[in-house]
Symmetry: C2
Subunit: 216 residues, 2 copies
DNA sequence: CTTGACTTAGAACGCGCGTTCGCGTTATAA
DNA sequence: TTATAACGCGAACGCGCGTTCTAAGTCAAG
């Protein structure tokens, strides 16, 4: 779609509409747009509005007063904020909860709002709060919130939450598949890696996409 | 103001209005509110609307179609997103930059958008990206982003960035004033604290309000 | 020049929608 | 009981506002 097709008048209209909505909380009328952009006739405003709609710049609800909104605002408002459900706590001594299996230990309305600056996509992300100091070797403190993505494709070097069957503990490590064995590398470079000879004894719960800490 | 004064009908109206705005991008009319809440008369809707306005729940623009908005939405929309400038990198071997003294090493448009869920207030917050593994004893990795608040009032137990004059290094520690001396406690509980006998040799750069890590 | 697509103007139509008024119901207090 | 207020209903008034029709000005192609 070419965006250069917008005339100066149409560009002014779009700018005014956006400004108006932000100021007043509701869209302007045809006549308000006309007055602001120096258009005397309502039909001209209507004409250009229909044009902008066909261009995809805005969405109109016909027969409705103030029934228009900017498509841009629609996407920005919906897409820039991501609500991630806080589904539970992660403790070393027990398997960490996942959204599918058990339900949330917090109310389902418990969620963390994040921006695209922190997590780019939102494909079934969920959040867990770390309890205890058992994750210090993963550079993660008590109280930290980890944002998880269901594992699906785990690549070498990913920071993942795994449940170790034989040790009966949950841990956060970087995972490397080295032939038949698996190496679990702590994030803290001063700690030693764990080598797992039997891949069946590790269950990857998910990949850590972000860690958020709020000291006191 | 007592919030329990809302009747069931008024509460339903508020809920419907918020839902309607989110769905359509513009507020409902009096008659739409009435139909949705089972009110046959427009005057009743108008009556309760005026009541809600006096209660501070919503704002009305008189004589204007769809001229209403929720006060809550007003605050949330404007204030929920916080832009924090990314002013530079923090390295152990040099003093960390602060917004006032040196200017941003990144473009001034370099900023991170955060929500109120991560940082509550926005009083001159700024962000620094950690470079190097020198902060591992503060449980902070290479590449982590720390959100800082200019120090002002530093309380015991705050996680702060300090410049140590005699060691010539920047470090992130929890600070405790114990009489005349200062104790700098690493976040990693396995590490030993540093004791500073002369308070003049530490310069508090700011308080860490959040740490954000995005593993690869 | 004529033709036709694009854009602007002005005016009229008609329903949308906020406002207002009268009146009935219920509740709490004097 | 009456008085006052809070709350509800329905109808009518009147401007707000989207729609539509006619007409005219602009500009490039033929």
């Amino acid at each position: 779609m070419s965006e250069t097709k917008l005339s100066a008048r149409q560009e002014a209209m779009v700018e005014f509409i956006g400004q108006f909505i932000e100021e007043n909380g509701y869209p302007p009328t045809i006549r308000e747009i006309g007055k602001a952009c120096g258009i005397s006739s309502t039909s001209v405003v209507n004409y250009n509005l229909t044009k902008l709609e066909r261009e995809g710049i805005l969405v109109r609800d016909r027969e409705v007063s103030r029934g228009l909104r900017l498509a841009e605002t629609l996407r920005e408002g919906m897409g820039n904020l991501i609500r991630v459900p806080l589904v539970g706590r992660i403790v070393a001594s027990e398997p960490c909860p996942v959204p599918g299996s058990d339900f949330a230990i917090f109310g389902s309305d418990e969620a963390i709002e994040l921006t695209r600056d922190i997590v780019d996509r939102n494909d079934d992300l969920y959040a867990l709060q770390v309890q205890g100091d058992s994750m210090v070797d993963a550079m993660i403190n008590d109280g930290d919130v980890v944002i998880m993505r269901p594992h699906k494709d785990v690549k070498n070097g990913d920071l993942v939450a795994v449940w170790l069957l034989d040790r009966e503990e949950t841990t956060l490590k970087r995972i490397y598949k080295e032939g038949k064995r698996i190496r679990l590398q702590p994030a803290n470079p001063t700690m030693q890696p764990i080598y797992i000879e039997d891949p069946a004894t590790v269950e990857v719960q998910g990949r850590v996409v972000a860690v958020i800490r709020r000291p006191n």
